[in-house]
């Protein structure tokens, strides 16, 4: 069935968009100021997960080169060591690069990770400022339910 196939190969997008919409609904419709912020956090987290899922490659590992690729060890250098310092067994950068062979499909896509590091930080910062504003609202109006606050503004006029 086409729908089932579409769902199973792209289920990550489906899930994240549904979570986004849950967060968006909370942001718009809830009355309590803190619940709106929780909705905002859900919404932004779902966007972050959405981006990260773009960069996944089947059968690939994390986007960090393997240790032996960048520090190629010469197997018999350990036996040479007790005869004194014979050869220099730290190959230079150019030598490593010349022997380096990286298969792009072995490693995950680093770009979405980078972008989402930024997005996480932005989300945390916005949440912090939102909570600070909520605390100040509570300090000034004595309530964090939007309807109560609007009523107290109307009655104060």
């Amino acid at each position: 069935m086409e729908l089932l196939e579409a769902l199973s190969t792209k289920f990550n997008y489906w899930i994240y968009i549904i979570i986004m919409m849950i967060g968006l609904y909370a942001m718009i419709s809830k009355n309590n100021l803190v619940k709106k912020l929780i909705g905002m956090s859900i919404f932004q987290t779902a966007i972050i997960l959405f981006y990260v899922s773009i960069g996944v490659k089947e059968g690939a590992t994390i986007p960090i080169l393997y240790h032996d690729q960048v520090h190629p060890s010469h197997g018999d250098s350990h036996h040479e060591a007790d005869t004194g310092h014979g050869q220099d067994h730290h190959p230079s950068h150019e030598e490593i690069v010349a022997n380096l062979h990286i298969e792009p499909d072995d490693f995950g896509n680093p770009l979405p990770h980078v972008l989402m590091l930024t997005a996480i930080v932005v989300g945390v910062a916005t949440l912090g400022v939102g909570l600070a504003l909520t605390q100040k609202v509570y300090r000034d109006f004595g309530s964090i339910e939007e309807s109560e606050i609007l009523e107290s503004i109307k009655s104060a006029k």
Binding site: Y13, I54, K57, I64, P110, V129
Partner: protein, 252 residues
Amino acid sequence: MKSFALIAVILTGWLLLSAVSDFPNWGDTESPANDYRLSQHYITKTFPESSVPNMVTAVLADYRGYDTMFETVVIFVAGIAIMSILRRKPLDHLKDKGKETRTYKKDPDLIIDTTCRLMIPIIQLFALYVVAHGHHSPGGGFQGGVIFGASFILLALSRDLQAAQRWVPEKRVLNLAGIGILIYSGFGFACMLLGSNFLDYEILHKIMPATPVEARSHSMLGVEIGVAFTCTAIMFSIYSNLASNGDMKETL
């Protein structure tokens, strides 16, 4: 209002989902995002161009270093914003409630105190490890900075805010945060002064004992240290402002 919100959300969700059929499958190695020369370059050329195995750190601190600088500024802005919104002298707070002055010190619980005294230095050591090893394993300035800041928050939670503030008083926090960003932009301005573009680390090999490629690697570490300073300071500042409701006297 709630039904209107529900309709709007369902419409938005339907609009977003309508494009999903067009997307590449999950995990597809031939998708445009994975196949395009951009990420291919990042994967294959990072080590030759900057001798850093961790591609994520290289992209974060070198290729898109301008973005990361502004990300640090975002954290800084959050700290200053929360401070400017919430901070007030404790006297007003007491006047509002009509309370008498309280003593703010309380005896720390024995088990919590001992455990935290053992854990906090190890946490801080781990944080420094994460910052230093950002080039070779997952890590970097943000991660290490947050862990370090968390160690101060743990101190404030296990005892009280005063104990943590003996280590990071408010003035020092602001200074640390500012110095962190100045370190980051200092690297950039040094590059400008030496004649190259902002954040073009290669030119720094003239003042560093390194080849141009290694200069990139060292500058990335320097830049990440700046980020770690700012992150540490602002994490603690956000906690202390939010938890004490601006007074800096007592917390949770």
